[in-house]
Assembly symmetry: C2
Homo-oligomer: 324 residues x 2
């Protein structure tokens, strides 16, 4: 993994992946006590940064691989990212999803042209299903985070942050990144190392699911004690990846955690002050910027809002609970 892979991914993504803006509001600055700059990846194709990594991975395939098609395991944002990238490349995509995944996510993935294969979490082994289909059809697996091309694609977010922070006059700041398996965080870290070394990437996680923060603290991969029960489901993974963790260990500052209520409050503030729709997992970094000011250093903080694929009911409840 190096910066050249990220710049190459950015080149392949030109005209296909959105350059999201860098947004701000004086009202958010007042809450945080410093400038807050938000990178809204909810505005990316498919509503999350996952479209970047999927594009990078699919666009790096050989023609024979594209012809055979791709496969992915996901109940959420990675599914839609892979479906989108495959369709735009004229490739078929099989997405293995649990049968109890939200109906909207299944419908959206199908709506993007993918073949969705549902499995029963209780009685079926998704890996067995996936391996059999991949073998039968010669499909290429697109992993959600622990893949060099996926990390390179997520790293294009960091190239944009480096340029946009410079335009905003910010050369020293913490960059808080909503973190699951670490693909986005490690990709951004590699980009910033090369392009904006004064910007310090830091993973942001929900309390109780802070495997990355704990892994960074002790210097070895730690697991989450549980994987369910968080509204921040988009960024919950068992543990950091074998590729992503060494990058984060070398380049990333300490992790920061927030409560679920802080994530919901950040969603409400993003609605009122930035006119953005964030999902709980996508609001964790903004929540840390706003409500954990003592854990952040510098006159400015950059928060990556990783996605916005949230159900209307949950969104409305966040608005009802937290006034501006």
């Amino acid at each position: 993994m190096n910066i050249d892979m990220i710049t190459a991914a950015a080149e392949r993504a030109r005209g296909h992946i959105r350059r999201t803006p860098l947004l701000s509001s004086p009202f958010l600055d007042d809450i945080a006590g410093r400038r807050v700059l938000v990178k809204p990846e909810c505005l990316q194709h498919t509503g999350s940064f996952k479209a970047r990594g999927a594009w990078s991975a699919v666009s790096a395939l050989e023609p024979t691989q594209l012809q055979a098609g791709v496969i992915a395991f996901s109940s959420g944002n990675h599914a839609q990212g892979v479906a989108h990238a495959a369709r735009e490349h004229g490739a078929s995509a099989v997405i293995i999803m649990p049968s109890d995944a939200p109906r909207a996510k299944i419908d959206n993935t199908r709506g993007l042209g993918a073949e969705v294969v549902l499995y029963d979490r209780a009685t079926e082994d998704r890996d067995e299903i996936g391996e059999r289909m991949a073998a039968e059809r010669g499909l290429t697996l697109i992993k959600p985070f622990d893949d060099p091309q996926v990390i390179a694609g997520q790293g294009t977010t960091g190239l944009e942050i480096a340029e946009q922070a410079d335009e905003a006059g910010v050369d020293t700041a913490d960059v808080l990144v909503c973190c699951g398996g670490g693909g986005l965080t490690s990709g951004i870290a590699l980009a910033l190392e090369a392009k904006a070394p004064g910007l310090r990437p830091r993973p942001a996680e929900p309390e109780g699911f802070d495997d990355v923060a704990r892994s960074l603290a002790v210097g070895s991969i730690q697991r989450n004690p549980r994987l369910t029960g968080s509204i921040c489901d988009a960024i919950i993974t068992p543990q950091p990846g074998n590729l992503t963790f060494p990058i984060m260990a070398r380049l990333c500052g300490p992790g920061v955690t927030v409560t679920e209520d802080q994530a919901l409050h950040a969603m409400a503030l993003a609605f009122h002050r930035l006119k953005l729709v964030l999902e709980p997992g996508g609001a964790v970094a903004l929540a840390a910027a706003l409500f954990r000011p003592e854990a952040v250093q510098g006159d400015a903080v950059i928060a990556v809002a990783s996605g916005g694929n949230v159900d209307a009911d949950l969104f409305a409840s966040a608005l009802a609970r937290f006034a501006p």
Copy 2:
């Protein structure tokens, strides 16, 4: 009014006004039956395009005028745009608002540093109050739309649309613009005339408040029969302006209208498919693109989403009523 004033306004706005992206979703394309490109001015500073016109007008003032300060009449988006532009120029701003304006809008305008003067709609004459304060302090009035520099500022939206449509491979399309007094529509029309003559600007309005559509149809300024009772309050004005109407009459295609329910439905779809927060008046053009396909021509349509300053309750009710 000419294109040079718009390019000059864009030059003065550089680094101060956001270049909003041009967004799309295959799910919206499917509904409309053609490509739909959305220009989200809800992401502009203060949550609406009004920040552009206010910036243009304030940045064109003489130093002595800036020192004395500015004044505006508004219960909504123009108030926040003027307050923001004045503060960034180090100028004071007086905003005359009705005492029954939404509390959030009053608070936001004060939060942006303006001096808010409330008047009673029933017993006081806002023009008299404004004229007296302007005379006493030497304040410069910033009009909401019928001012050349305001129109030039709104026209910077059109410069961006011309460039972004070209990047998207679109050189022929209807450009639907949420239209109140016509500042945004006429400014965009002037920009497109010079930079993208294949793009045809068309005002979009709510049914029952279609003064611009009717004015264009008969060739003279027509009034709305009433000014209250619409949830699209952000774009309700008595009639098109004396400056904006001749520009629209020369350059704009026929107006298109939508129902309030279509505007609310478009808000819900912008939430699900674009992760954007739109206010009802700001969703009218998108609603026309989605739900009045027979009234639109061409393989692609561009919809300007003019603002996103909506109360949480109204937004939640739109989500509850309209599933994706």
